[in-house]
């Protein structure tokens, strides 16, 4: 029997972590992959916020002389067919990616939470109808529904956000409904009823906050799929319209021609997309382990 080193055990459990930095350091040690994800996401957010400072040139400025210029000291990642700087477009593209990703995730989650909460808490015919609608929306792959939505709304930033948000709703609604159904039976809800709280107040003030943990886990995962779906839509020419620098758009169908002649046009935007999604996935896995230990793998 080796004696238990209580101090070391306590440190390992995070008891000695103090302050914001101590806490962050502790989390980074416990979830190294999650910390990597957080750093990647911080970089993407930083690029989006300070694009003007990092980009070094205008992402929309065209130049015939620079057409298909390979990477150089002046243009780190080369230039596209219209002579636009690829580095600048990738940096500004972080804005589009994040705006669409966060926008559609927030919109989809907000609507999904409202529907899931109503469906789970009210039950009865509301629940029945909501479940059928959720079935309908879930029978179509995310990209197919987003494609049809995007085509029917027309290409614009706002419409792309909506087109991606709608297919996300059923997944959120399902999770929130399942959680609400379980929470509804707990004693604290009965207590709230006993003191005469209104149904509305119980649902919003008592049930909703308790569904936040699974919601955060789900939303992080959806942020990744939203970014990927935006890239796919724009790649197919049905997402963000020109001249916005969208990563997916930069890889649009003509990219297959550049495989031979200008590989930098194919490699770098793809790295940007993959890195951003990889960051959200790592972060999502870590958040799931922290917030939802029962699912821990």
């Amino acid at each position: 029997m080796t004696p238990v080193d209580y101090d070391a055990e306590l440190t390992r459990a995070g008891a000695n972590a103090s302050g914001v930095w101590g806490g962050l350091l502790f989390l980074a040690r416990r979830q190294p992959l999650g910390a990597v994800g957080a750093v990647i996401m911080a970089l993407v957010v930083f690029a989006a916020l300070f694009a003007d400072l990092i980009a070094r040139c205008d992402p929309l400025a065209t130049s015939a002389a620079l057409s298909l210029a390979p990477p150089s000291a002046a243009h780190w990642l080369g230039a596209d067919f219209l002579g636009r700087d690829v580095w600048a477009r990738i940096v500004y593209g972080a804005r589009i990616s994040l705006a669409v990703g966060l926008g559609s995730t927030a919109l989809g989650s907000a609507i999904g939470v409202a529907i899931g909460l109503a469906s789970g808490y009210l039950g009865g015919w509301v629940d029945l109808i909501v479940q059928r609608v959720v079935d309908i929306l879930q029978a179509l792959p995310l990209l197919v529904l987003a494609l049809v939505m995007a085509a029917s709304l027309g290409p614009s930033l706002r419409n792309t956000v909506i087109a991606i948000a709608i297919p996300l709703i059923p997944y959120v609604a399902r999770v929130i409904r399942a959680n609400t159904l379980a929470l509804r039976e707990l004693p604290f809800v009965e207590a709230a009823k006993a003191v005469g709280m209104s149904e509305w107040r119980i649902a919003v003030r008592h049930i909703l906050p308790n569904t936040l943990a699974p919601l955060i886990v789900l939303a992080t995962a959806q942020l990744g799929s939203a970014i990927l779906t935006e890239a796919s839509l724009s790649f197919l020419g049905l997402g963000i319209p020109e001249p916005h620098p969208s990563w997916g758009r930069m890889l649009s169908e003509s990219a297959a021609e550049y495989v031979r002649t200008a590989p930098w046009l194919v490699i770098f935007p793809g790295i940007a997309i993959s890195l951003a999604v990889f960051g959200t996935n790592l972060l999502g896995d870590a958040l799931r382990d922290i917030l939802d230990p029962r699912q821990r793998s």
């Binding site: 309908i136 049809v148 085509a151 027309g154 890889l251 793809g270």
Partner: protein
């Protein structure tokens, strides 16, 4: 069982009916139809001619009548006519189906062939270097857009062999076919195999903690016998259930991959039809996708009951 099956089929029909309504309405909410696109492209608009085209295509009728005509046709096996080619939609879709089916089949085979064994290895060697490498690899597989992976594969082929493996002519022999489809199938399947691997891993980890695994070890069963005969045969069940999800996942990958590799299948056709507002093609293809997803899910559920005698439906 019969009652359960009946209820599931009834629900399925209800779902498909709902999808048909949603798609039909969505496609017709849009300002602008195929007549607008054709006339915009021509650069001139003669209102009388445009109205004539709309009447000819039946676009001037009330939306309920249009929907009724589509459903009535579907029941008789008539999918309507493509606006773009003016040929029956069935004739446009049917020859493209086997192409996508082969590609999807190969991709699915690829994802299981790689995903299951790697997931087992990752679980058995939990928290070792190989587990970490495989987990990071699978997570990056899920993070890469399928079309970018396709482009990277193209690039590697060009760099090493100087030839681009995109679809140019209809393959003649079975071997030719395999060559043409295997590269894009790998591009689609890589993502799916990452998904399968993650699921196999977590399912295996769950099973490896069970008491009967300890019993098997205690009575002296060899490591491979424990891992494969005892653990995997039980861990594989939840993996099978997600093949339904997988189907939806694959379709998304097929859409972009067929575009990258220039493959004339139904998935790329859907994108083209959407761009042209070719409603008869779009609505029939989306319905087809929905039918595939819904039917695959039903089959998977039934298969589950067959494979796992503990599960009995409808009791």
């Amino acid at each position: 069982m019969a009652a359960y099956l009946l209820r599931r089929v009834a629900l399925m029909v209800l779902t498909l009916f709902g999808i048909s309504v949603v798609i039909f309405v969505l496609l017709r909410l849009v300002p602008g139809n195929v007549a607008d696109i054709i006339f915009d492209a021509a650069g001139m608009i003669n209102p009388a001619e445009k109205a004539g085209l709309e009447r000819q295509l039946g676009l001037d009728r009330p939306i309920v009548v249009q929907y009724g005509a589509w459903m009535g046709g579907l029941l008789e096996g008539d999918l309507g006519h493509s606006y773009v080619s003016d040929r029956p939609a069935l004739e446009e879709i049917a020859p493209r189906l086997p192409i996508t089916a082969k590609l999807a089949g190969l991709a699915l085979a690829f994802s299981i062939l790689f995903g299951v064994p790697l997931g087992v290895v990752s679980a058995v060697r939990q928290n070792t270097a190989i587990d970490y490498v495989l987990r990071v690899l699978s997570l990056s597989g899920l993070s890469m857009p399928a079309f970018w992976l396709g482009l990277l594969i193209l690039m590697a082929f060009v760099a090493w062999t100087g030839f681009i493996p995109i679809y140019s002519e209809t393959p003649q022999s079975l071997w030719d076919e395999f060559l043409v489809y295997s590269v894009p199938a790998a591009a689609v399947g890589f993502r799916s195999s990452a998904l399968v691997m993650r699921l196999t891993r977590s399912s295996m980890l769950e099973v490896l903690r069970q008491d009967y695994i300890r019993t098997a070890r205690a009575k002296g069963a060899s490591e491979p016998a424990v891992n494969y005969r005892h653990a995997l045969s039980n861990a594989i069940l939840p993996v099978i259930t997600v093949i339904g999800i997988e189907a939806a996942f694959l379709i998304g990958g097929l859409i972009v991959t067929e575009t990258v590799f220039n493959i004339p299948g139904v998935a790329r056709f859907l994108v083209e039809a959407i761009r042209w507002r070719d409603y008869p093609i779009v609505q029939n293809l989306v319905m087809l996708i929905a039918v595939v997803v819904v039917v695959v899910n039903l089959i998977v559920d039934l298969l589950y009951a067959v494979l796992d005698p503990r599960i009995r439906y409808g009791e």
